[in-house]
């Protein structure tokens, strides 16, 4: 059989620097680097390289680099190399193409076309190093009515809310798709940061129940790992309807990732692919969602907010409005640029809408309908920096979910090969040899550092705007201006153009 696929990357070894310590050989799970004892030479099999930089990063002599190959086809703007190779691959296998993490395609990143305001003269900026700067956030439904008791105290309806010390949470990533050590890092970081991590749909490993006060548990269409103790362990329960990277389809965990621990945690057989259904088979319409929301509330005595997570799709505003009336306490919206452990490439690259537009239209719609206070809004799907967080909150979000930045902090190099299960960084793998490359003692601190740094930056930007409380930033679209956007885009985002 002819192998039509030529390597995308080339490993370049600087022989003057290389000391032949062979750490590259020992560390590459893809077996790219080979040492030939007889000839005393190191060489690289480029066809196996996924460009994850494990070898480059660990090489003590800095003798390695990975370059994009300049091997090429006749140039065509229409049939690019990627498209040609995809066709070869499908002609080879007859299968659906799989990929991981967020889409690499060049869709507009609206965050980068939005600018933030600052105070000058007419009102003062506030110095976060010298003045209090508040970013504590409550997530959940707000009471409608308020009454005074005889003693002057107030009475309201009570709805469970999550209390976040910073408006940044770790988005759902299941145990199975990522390693137990990665989960441990997220849980410990959430605990130290006073925020939450999300189990994803893979259940909760028994060793992680102790992080319950900072855990959100997910109930997805496969119901993997869902039982009474699991629901009780979460401070909130998230119903996953959809995911930004793959709207309309369910999760897929390959059988080779399902060893004894994952099998026990998910309550599924070892070695068999875990494929969650595309829809929830008890939710074929919005009224069914209401029943699941209230089933979960009944099961947990109305003590936990229910989050409904949906992928950003075309009709998002109407869908969100339906969810807000379904009894859900929080809507989590996941944009199309969001990451994933495995998704069909065509879906990842073509289905859904960017989170910025989805957020703006949902927030506007819920306000128009007078139900914005019924729900919290959390957005994810490519929140890449503290500036993105500030812009999301000013557009109307209560808090954000981050996942890819969290993985990057743990060492991920975005090689987009999670589905192979051979993550050299010990994150998206279940191989014990690889999993232990991620030491939670180190990993959790890196996550804490990242979110702490972002929080400081959020405060800096708020202070610049003369805002000292995150509530006053939420939905404050006057603090944003578009740059290089069409009038239609500005209208959807509900912001003016720079200079206006």
């Amino acid at each position: 059989m002819i192998d039509y696929i030529q390597p995308d990357y080339e490993v370049v070894r600087n022989k003057d620097l290389c000391i032949k310590c062979k750490v590259c050989v020992r560390q590459c799970a893809n077996e790219v680097h080979v040492y030939d004892e007889k000839r005393d030479v190191l060489f690289a099999d480029n066809s196996k390289c996924v460009n994850c930089h494990r070898c480059v990063t660990l090489c003590p002599a800095k003798a390695l680099k990975i370059v994009k190959t300049d091997h090429c086809f006749k140039p065509s703007a229409n049939y690019t190399k990627e498209i040609i190779y995809d066709i070869y691959r499908q002609a080879d296998t007859g299968g659906v193409l799989l990929s991981s993490m967020g889409t690499p395609k060049d869709y507009p990143v609206y965050w980068d076309k939005i600018l933030i305001n600052a105070s000058q003269v007419t009102n003062p900026s506030i110095d976060p190093l010298r003045e209090p700067m508040e970013i504590k956030t409550f997530l959940g439904r707000k009471p409608e009515k308020i009454e005074y008791a005889a003693d002057g105290s107030i009475k309201t309806e009570k709805y469970p809310n999550l209390e976040l010390k910073t408006p940044i949470m770790f988005s759902a990533m299941s145990y199975g798709s990522i390693s137990k050590n990665a989960h441990m890092c997220l849980a410990r970081a959430a605990e130290e940061l006073g925020t939450f991590y999300n189990t994803g749909e893979g259940g909760l490993h028994e060793d992680l129940y102790k992080y319950s006060p900072n855990t959100i548990v997910q109930v997805a269409s496969g119901r993997f790992g869902v039982h009474a103790d699991y629901l009780e362990a979460g401070q909130a329960i998230e119903i996953k309807i959809g995911q930004g990277a793959k709207p309309g389809i369910g999760g897929h965990l390959p059988g080779q990732k399902i060893g004894p621990d994952v099998s026990r945690t998910r309550m599924i057989p070892m070695g068999a692919d875990a494929i969650s259904p595309a829809p929830h088979h008890d939710i074929y319409s919005i009224e069914d969602l209401r029943q699941l929301v209230f089933s979960l509330k009944e099961a947990t005595d109305y003590k936990k907010p229910i989050i409904v997570k949906i992928a950003a799709v075309h009709n998002i505003a109407a869908i969100a409005s339906g969810i807000a009336r379904s009894g859900a306490d929080v809507i989590a919206i996941d944009g199309m640029r969001g990451g994933t452990g495995a998704a069909p490439s065509r879906i990842r690259d073509n289905v859904g809408i960017p989170i910025e537009l989805a957020l703006a239209s949902v927030d506007s719609r819920l306000r128009e309908e007078g139900i914005r206070n019924n729900v919290g809004i959390v957005v994810g799907g490519s929140i890449r920096s503290s500036a993105d967080v500030v812009k999301a909150i000013a557009l109307g979000a209560d808090a954000v979910y981050i996942a890819t930045p969290a993985l990057l902090a743990l060492g991920c190099h975005l090689c987009r090969s999670c589905h192979s299960g051979k993550c050299n960084w010990g994150i998206a793998t279940q191989s014990p040899e690889l999993v232990r490359r991620l030491n939670p003692d180190i990993g959790y601190k890196r996550l804490v550092n990242l979110v702490t740094a972002w929080s400081h930056e959020i405060m800096e930007m708020m202070g610049g705007m003369g805002i000292n409380s995150i509530e006053a930033l939420r939905g404050n679209r006057l603090m944003l201006r578009g740059i290089g956007l069409s009038q239609k885009e500005l209208d959807i985002l509900g912001i003016g153009h720079a200079g206006e």
Binding site: P143, N468, S469, E471, R474, G475
Partner: protein, 378 residues
């Protein structure tokens, strides 16, 4: 009209309140007699003159309470008209809904420095009994919506005062000139608030001057709030339309919503607008902590950040409040039963040279005074 005038008119229309957001610096002042003594309006005019440099001649105004004892149970509508057509439209709208007992031009006098005045009329009316009986709304809400209707739907008409036994007098000019223009020497009331404006733009519209009023609430405000759009978009959920794009407008609506519609007590309204920091709340006793946590969470989007000092006038009371960092000056004083509030102490001393005490209210700590013999605030 020659070309330059036409261009100026176009610019004025483009920059009119409501078409553009105009930050302003300001002077404010107010005084209140707890015993309900009839205090002269001219004191407010004098006090504002002492703070002349805090205004720039582009807006001044006054609000008085207890000024129409003969029509105490009537709504007193003060209306600006751009032309007679607007007057006819508004009057026919009003007469369909209100029994109007008295209507007149508000008396004014020619003053150097005041020009471009609209037609200014005043009406005393009661809601027609059959409307009151059949509307689904309570009376105040009905009146409120009628005012909003005139202001947004009848071109060239603007109701700038709509409470009972109270009135707003405002215009474009320095506040002392505006006071002179409206012949405020003829008015007395138990409470007066005043405002001088320093806008960073050149609005020529009289409706944009302050105090801002809805029903019996008036607000004078000094500052530029950074939370504006968060506050505005929240209020719009509840049917308020912020057409003027000013801080004062949205603050007034917030107070109207919390105090009149939601029934919050004024000290609690102050705690929503300018709450203590979480670090302070955490140190409070459990009942207070729980209450403030609930209020902050419930009305998170009504928290106001950025510098402000406001004086709220309402039927039977007055409240002064600073932002929680106290980014704007505000001084209070007392002499016998009269409480004074001002941006600067000099203004108070100009009308009350020997106060019993003066103090600088802390950020977020409201100063509330109410009539002794009347249950004013809720």
């Amino acid at each position: 009209m020659d070309e330059i005038e036409q261009r100026l008119a176009e610019v004025a229309e483009k920059n009119r309140e409501g078409n553009v957001r105009i930050p302003s610096g300001c002077a404010i002042c107010g005084y209140f007699s707890r015993k309900g003594k009839a205090l002269p309006a001219v004191d407010a005019v004098d006090a504002m003159a002492y703070m002349h440099d805090r205004s720039n001649g582009l807006g001044g105004g006054f609000a008085g309470y207890g000024i129409y004892p003969d029509f105490a149970d009537h709504y007193a509508f003060h209306i600006f008209y751009d032309n007679e057509k607007a007057r006819e439209d508004a009057e026919s709208f009003l007469k369909l809904r209100f029994d109007v007992s008295n209507m007149e031009r508000i008396p004014t006098r020619k003053v150097y420095g005041i020009s471009g005045a609209p037609l200014i009329w005043r009406y005393f009316g009661k809601l027609q009994p059959e409307i009151a009986a059949h509307t689904e709304l309570d009376e105040e809400e009905y009146v409120c919506r009628s005012v909003i209707h005139i202001n947004t739907k009848i071109k060239g008409a603007y109701v700038f005062s709509s409470g009972k036994n109270m009135g707003v007098f405002k215009g474009v000019g320095f506040p002392e000139d505006v006071g002179e223009y409206y012949r405020l020497g003829d008015y007395k009331g138990y409470c007066w608030t005043a405002h001088g404006r320093y806008p960073t733009n050149t609005p020529g519209w009289w409706g944009g001057a302050h105090p801002f009023n809805i029903l019996n609430y008036t607000v004078v405000h000094n500052g530029e709030i950074s939370s504006y759009d968060a506050n505005r978009r929240f209020m719009e959920i509840y049917g308020y339309k912020c057409t003027l794009l000013t801080d004062t407008e949205v603050i007034t609506y917030i107070i109207d919503y919390l105090h009149r519609k939601r029934g919050l007590k004024l000290p609690d309204v102050a705690k929503v607008i300018a709450p203590p920091f979480w670090s302070q709340i955490e140190r409070m006793d459990a009942p207070e902590r729980e209450k403030l946590t609930t209020l902050r969470n419930m009305y998170a989007s009504l928290l106001i950040t950025g510098p402000f000092s406001i004086i709220l006038g309402y039927s039977g009371g007055m409240m002064a409040l600073n932002d929680r960092l106290k980014l704007r000056s505000m001084v209070a004083a007392e002499k016998d039963d009269v409480t004074y509030i001002s941006s600067e102490e000099c203004a108070i001393r100009s009308i009350c040279p020997d106060p019993d005490r003066t103090w600088s209210p802390a950020g977020g700590e409201p100063v509330i005074v109410e009539l002794d013999n009347k249950e004013g605030g809720r």
